[in-house]
Every structure is written in structure tokens, then in C-alpha cells.
Symmetry: C2
Subunit: 189 residues, 2 copies
């Protein structure tokens, strides 16, 4: 593993625990056993470190979902697996979860303000290609792909956030499941 990634891994835990403001470059340097000035050899500034840390964590999330989806054949199962794997992943990765709670702006949904557009677009592409496959196989209604994708993506993000902001816990999980099945029936012919 290269050193940028190593720094990001340590920074992720610190940002999650203390938040952006309370985490100092020196904290990160200490965790790495180096001096703070050396962090600047790898990152432009604190903001840059934060963004690359978050972007890396989001990419890991997206890749995990993409892998699970690729393992399924049936398009309806792909959809369900995508929905549930995302949920599971966040449950298991508390650092990323905590950061999403502390910095809700990570999911701005208005593309022009999205600080992580690239990786978020990638996540949306997974959903989009499932819907396209469903239509091509004549198993989904011929919906407006772009708008339905955006609709479902924002609903999905909202629930992932909501589920972990307060420990609304099982109620939201049940709501989410009902929502997923509702969406499946809405898509399916």
C-alpha cells in the first residue's frame, strides 16, 4: 500500500472520531509516526487530505456494491443486492458512516455543488445500468431512465443517511425494505 493511502486510512479514523475541525494535521502525522510538515509532501493542504480521504472511502463503498451486483445475473436480484449491500456496507464501516453523519454535504445531490461528483456519479451509474438492463430484457417498464435513476438514487441516499443519523434503527430498516420492494414492483412489468 502506498503512503498516501496509508495516511488516508489513519486520517479516516481521526476525522470520524474528532471531526474535520478538531482533527489536526499533527494528529494525523503522529498517527503515522512522522512530522506534520511531511504531510504536505503528500497532500496540498488539510482540505485536500480530507477530500482524498473521503473520496477513497466512498470509492471502496461503491466498489463493494459494484462487485456484489456483478455477481448476480437476474436484474431484479441485482437491484435488491445493490440496495441491501449498500446498507450492509455502511453498517459495517462505522468510520465512513460517522463521517457521512458529520458532513451531510458529502451528498449534495445538486451536481454542481457535489464535492465528490466523480465517485457519486459512479455509484449512480450502477443503478442506471441495472434499470437499462431491465428495460432491454423487457422486464422493466420503459421509464425515463435518467430521471428515474436520479429519483431512486436520491431516495436511496436519503435512507442510508437517515438510517444512521439517529439510531432510528429497525423502524427505518423496515421502511427501507418496504421501499425497495415498492420500487421493484414499480419498475417491474
Amino acid at each position: 500500500m502506498n503512503k498516501e493511502q496509508e495516511i488516508c486510512n489513519h486520517a479516516l479514523g481521526l476525522f470520524a472520531h474528532y471531526g474535520y475541525r478538531k482533527t489536526t494535521i499533527e494528529d494525523v502525522a503522529d498517527a503515522m509516526g512522522m512530522t506534520k510538515s511531511n504531510i504536505y509532501f503528500y497532500f496540498k493542504n488539510k482540505q485536500d487530505l480530507y477530500e482524498k480521504t473521503v473520496a477513497g472511502a466512498l470509492s471502496g463503498w461503491r466498489d463493494s456494491v459494484a462487485e456484489a451486483v456483478a455477481a448476480e445475473q437476474d436484474v431484479v436480484e441485482k437491484f435488491r443486492v445493490m440496495a441491501y449491500r449498500s446498507f450492509e456496507y455502511l453498517r459495517a464501516h462505522s468510520d465512513l458512516r460517522t463521517i457521512l453523519e458529520k458532513d451531510p454535504g458529502i451528498f449534495t445531490l445538486t451536481p454542481s455543488e457535489d464535492r465528490f461528483r466523480e465517485v457519486n456519479m459512479g455509484a449512480m451509474e450502477i443503478l442506471k445500468s441495472i434499470i437499462e438492463q431491465g428495460i432491454k430484457e423487457n422486464r422493466f417498464h420503459r421509464v425515463d431512465v435518467q430521471h428515474v435513476t436520479e429519483f431512486l438514487f436520491s431516495v436511496y441516499i436519503m435512507f442510508l443517511i437517515r438510517a444512521y443519523v439517529k439510531s432510528e434503527g429497525s423502524t427505518v430498516a423496515t421502511m427501507y425494505e418496504e421501499g425497495v420492494e415498492l420500487a421493484v414492483r414499480g419498475l417491474r412489468k
Copy 2:
């Protein structure tokens, strides 16, 4: 119109324009042509004035939607009318819209923290009774009424807010329409 309502009407515009903190009791009093101490004859304190102002505006919204829904017979049409009337109402009432943007906590959705539980519950009841009617008439799937209601209600709130936060304008409106039709297909047998 009684004076409490009159004060609330003026306060609504001021809260919308300046926000809770920047709006002073004196601003409200001036708008009414009275002194600030007299406001305390009608309201316990500033917080009380704000809550009653917002609750009143929310009630007006809910009543407008309830009226439109009651005028329809067909349960699917009821659902659509509910969705679209809500949207229209917010488009037309920019003060309420602005307040919802400035104070997203108005829709906390975790009932224990909901400052406007009574009126929000009333709004959710409209949706719930539509779903119940659909099931009773054997036109909707036998879903988990409570959870599906909560799911759709939070999606619906999210979009109403989103649609007006930035002027994402027509894109969100189209997304919303696609979402409504997706939900209709998901509910309908």
C-alpha cells in the same frame, strides 16, 4: 380574523425573509403597528410565536391538500392529486417554502423530536387513508400500511424540500413526476 392570526401572518413573512434569529419581536410589532410588549399579550415568548406561526402555515397546507383529495373518488387519482396539490401549494406559497428551507428540522420524521407532530401526523394520515382505501377496494397490494406510509411520506417531503432549495427547477419536477408514477405502479395491482 382574530389578532393572533393577524400577527402570525405578518410574522410568517418576516421569519421567511430574515430567519428566526434575525427577526425581532419589535419587527413583528412594528409590522402590526403595536409595541413589542403587546406581542406578549398574545404569545408566551418568541419561540411560541414562531411555532404557532409555522403550525398555522402547515395546517393551511394540509387543509388545502385534504380538500383536493376529498374531491376525488378514484383512489389512484386521490394519490396523484395529493402528490401534485402539495407541490403546487408550495410553489404558490413562497413564505412557507422559504421557512421550510431555512428550518429543515420542521420535518424531523423521528416522531419524538417532531415540533409539529400534530399537524404532520394529520398530513401523513391523508396518505395513509388513501393507501388503506386502495387495499380495501382491492386495487393496491396488501403492503405494510404503516411502513409504506412512512416511507412514501418521507420521500414526498424530501422532494418537496429539494425541489425548492435551489432552483433545480424543472429537473426535480420531472423526477418527482416519475417518482409519483413509480409509486403508483408499486402500489397498484
